[in-house]
């Protein structure tokens, strides 16, 4: 039902997304908390410390197939990567930028390759814009802002790498989304020089208008929706249950990592103990040293296995925990659009003055509701498919890594057995009586 082009029932403001309704009341714009803790001022005109390449003039065909994707590779016409984090220090703040590289054959892009640098704030902005324009479409979550859990330093390498991977996945999910990927904001995000991006950002609804929307949104939420269609209620129930299950899986996996780490700590002492023992022995020295070596090698494999869980399964589970929150927000927004429509219907029935204006408003609200419902319904199907693919491949991947872990340990101990066998044969030790 939803195609690449969107019904344009609005006056577009400049070059923003194709479908921003002029009357954006009833749409919740989450008032973001302060952006990155990195920023001391909201003024984003600070110089971006790195240089950037505007569109790289290389052959469009070059390296198009460099990247792996889950969707059909042959229908994919845009490839985005996020890498190369760099730290920038200015007088006021320190922040990280990431290189965002785009390769595309789409005609709406001026060129086929782009390279820009973006910071977390910019990603936040993009997500906000997309949600503003399509309140009932399901956007993939961004990695969380820096959360003080007491252990991770903001510029810690692992944290940056985890964030980079999540940002990469975020952009790719946007690129794979039929509606989001044709968003003008998305295009600008991928291609504009920093200065351009900054000025474009300023064109969006300002702080005050966002404030006003929020007030209206709160009012709508308070009103509540009266006749929610059954399918959306079912969706809500599903999201509730899904949210619980995926959170549980996240917690279970983190617990497994913790237990593995503690197991590793103990196991690390085994090898040295066997090695120590071998120093007191003569005949037994060799097998004991051998066992010590085997235990140490198993330790290394265990260490890697723990890292795999942390690097691959946990981030995916975590993202789907955030997805569940996104789904809840989407459903809320849809409810509010409906509540707004219901309120306006009531108003028309009861009030006597301004009937024409109110009728007009009501029509718009009805359109908006229908549009929101349809958008959600079809995006819901798409999201479920993506979720299924993502989680399936994450679990399959985990299972494969576990198999590989056990295979490696198996090989270690089999080589020990083999060495003992050949040892006994070699030394002619056949009679132990």
């Amino acid at each position: 039902m939803m195609s690449g082009s969107v019904v344009d029932n609005t006056v577009s403001s400049g070059n923003s997304s194709a479908a921003i309704p002029t009357d954006i009341s009833g749409q919740i714009l989450d008032l973001d908390e302060d952006d990155d803790l990195e920023v001391f001022s909201k003024d984003t005109t600070l110089t971006d410390g790195s240089s950037f390449n505007a569109s790289m003039q290389t052959s469009p065909a070059s390296m198009i197939n460099q990247y792996k994707f889950e969707e059909d590779a042959d229908t994919k016409d845009i490839f985005v990567t996020v890498d190369n984090p760099e730290s920038h220090v200015t007088a006021i703040e320190t922040y990280i930028t990431y290189r965002v590289m785009t390769k595309t054959t789409r005609s709406e892009f001026d060129s086929s390759e782009f390279e820009v640098r973006r910071r977390y704030q910019d990603f936040l902005w993009l997500k906000g814009r997309l949600e503003e324009a399509h309140p009932t479409l399901i956007a993939h979550p961004l990695p969380e802002k820096f959360v003080v859990k007491g252990m991770v330093e903001r510029f810690n390498e692992d944290f940056i790498e985890t964030r980079r991977r999540a940002l990469h996945r975020f952009l790719n999910k946007i690129a794979e989304h039929p509606i989001f990927s044709s968003s003008e904001d998305f295009k600008i995000f991928l291609t504009a020089a920093s200065g351009e991006l900054t000025s474009h950002k300023k064109q969006g609804p300002g702080f005050l208008s966002r404030m006003g929307d929020t007030v209206k949104a709160v009012a709508a939420a308070v009103r509540g929706v009266r006749n929610r269609p059954q399918e959306f209620t079912e969706m809500q129930e599903y999201v509730e249950a899904f949210s619980q299950k995926i959170s549980s899986l996240d917690k279970v996996t983190q617990r497994i990592v913790r237990e593995q780490k503690e197991y590793l700590e103990e196991l690390k002492e085994c090898g040295p103990t066997y090695a120590l023992w071998s120093q007191s022995e003569e005949e037994l020295a060799e097998p004991l040293k051998n066992v010590a070596g085997c235990v140490d090698r198993c330790c290394k494999e265990t260490e890697e296995q723990v890292k795999n869980l942390s690097d691959h399964l946990i981030p995916v589970l975590h993202e789907y925990v955030l997805c569940a929150d996104t789904l809840k927000a989407v459903l809320r927004r849809r409810d509010n659009i409906q509540a707004d429509f219901e309120a306006k219907t009531e108003a028309l029935a009861t009030k006597k003055a301004d009937r024409d204006t109110m009728r007009n408003d009501l029509d718009k609200a009805e359109d908006r509701l229908e549009w929101a419902n349809n958008a959600l319904k079809s995006d819901w199907t798409r999201w479920q498919k993506v979720m299924r693919t993502d989680l399936r491949s994450a679990f399959v991947d985990t299972a494969e890594r576990n198999v590989s872990y056990y295979e490696k340990c198996l090989a270690v101990w089999e080589s020990f057995l083999h060495s003992q066998r050949t040892d006994a044969e070699g030394n002619g030790k056949v009679d132990f009586s």
């Binding site: 599903y238 249950a241 899904f242 299950k245 995926i246 549980s248 899986l249 279970v252 617990r255 497994i256 237990e259 593995q260 503690e262 197991y263 700590e265 103990e266 196991l267 002492e269 085994c270 103990t273 066997y274 120590l276 023992w277 007191s280 022995e281 003569e282 005949e283 037994l284 097998p287 004991l288 066992v291 085997c294 198993c298 299924r388 989680l391 399936r392 679990f395 399959v396 299972a399 494969e400 576990n402 198999v403 872990y405 056990y406 295979e407 340990c409 198996l410 101990w413 089999e414 020990f416 057995l417 003992q420 066998r421 006994a424 044969e425 030790k429 056949v430 009679d431 132990f432 009586s433």
Partner: protein
Amino acid sequence: MADSGSEDIAVIGNTDLTPSESENNLKNTMVEKGTSLLKKMEISVAEAEKRTGKNAVNMQETYTVYLIEMRPVDAASEGTNPVPDSLWRRYSEFELLRNYLLVTYPFLVVPPLPEKRAEFVWHKLSADNMDPDFVERRRVGLENFLLRVASHPDLSTDKIFYSFLTEENGWKETVFETGFQAKADSRLKALNATFRVKNPDKRFAEMKHYGDELQSVISQLLRVRARAADRLYGVYKVHGNYGRVFSEWSAIEKEMGDGLQSAGHHMDAYAASVDDILEEEEHYADQMKEYLFYADALRAVCRKHELTQYELEMAAQDLTSKKQQREELATGTIRTFSLKGVTSKLFGQETPEQREAKLKMLETQIEEGEELVKERNAECEEFVKSAWVDIERFKEQKDHDLREALISYAIMQISMCKKGIQVWNNAKECFSKM
């Protein structure tokens, strides 16, 4: 695989050997060592039972008894199956037997008993002496002890040992009648000797040091292993939660439901598999523990050597001093301090008759002393000779057994890995159907 005919090669080659099969191999090795006792009789500790009764202070107590069975070897091979001779013994009687053997054969490394109380336990394992798993492991340990004694060239011929196996009633009295308790060295005496001996045999000193090191390192190994087992248990069991959550999740999904549900089952299986794994590891720990306690027996032999050597040195020292005294008395010179010397200076010399008497006494003492020194010297030499033979025998046994234990540990690890591979391959298949 080269055909060497040794069961050790068979053990190495067969990676599907279970610990109990491995244990049987060990027993077969002992049996084939071929003491005359084991050639005739098959010994086993077949069962364990709980009993209640009144103890020495007339209070009710519950204790466990173990059934010792003796089967003639020929009968088994002939196919007939006569009722074995059997009797019940409790742990304290085993202890009594071992104490008797320790005192009677101080030059032998006497096989140890399984531990009195459960130590080096990880949390799931009970430290309770009445716990059935502990009792079962103790039964195996007691059988092992009997086989070790029965396969020892010297110990297997001991009469008290034989009657332990054959005479249920009155055995205790028989043991006490031997008066072995009187022969036991006091701890204090032994400790004293350890500090004061001047020229112990170097080999024994090294052996004692080795015994110390062995005990220390095996203790450490057992401790670390118990902690690691604890942690591994946690890792496996947490995966059980995956089973539960997958199952709940599958209820709300349409296409993913089946894959999730069956994957969940495999996660449950994975979580459950750790119980067997750790039970096998416990067997390995028991093998280590035997040698932990053997280390103690080894040290006991070395301490006995020190004591014997010390007593020889004391006798020799005594003899030397007596000889000196005689010399002084004969020549009239006083080289050594003696009360007599001082008093005679103060109160006048002795009469020639007194001197004569004294000299005669000293002569007798010196004669006796020389006899004693000769005796003790012979004892010492005899001890060193026999003890060293047994220590060499023990060394070979230890090297063989521990190597087997390490091999069976590797086999266990392999088995654990194979199970893991199977479970996760199954899970992967289920996941791919999600």
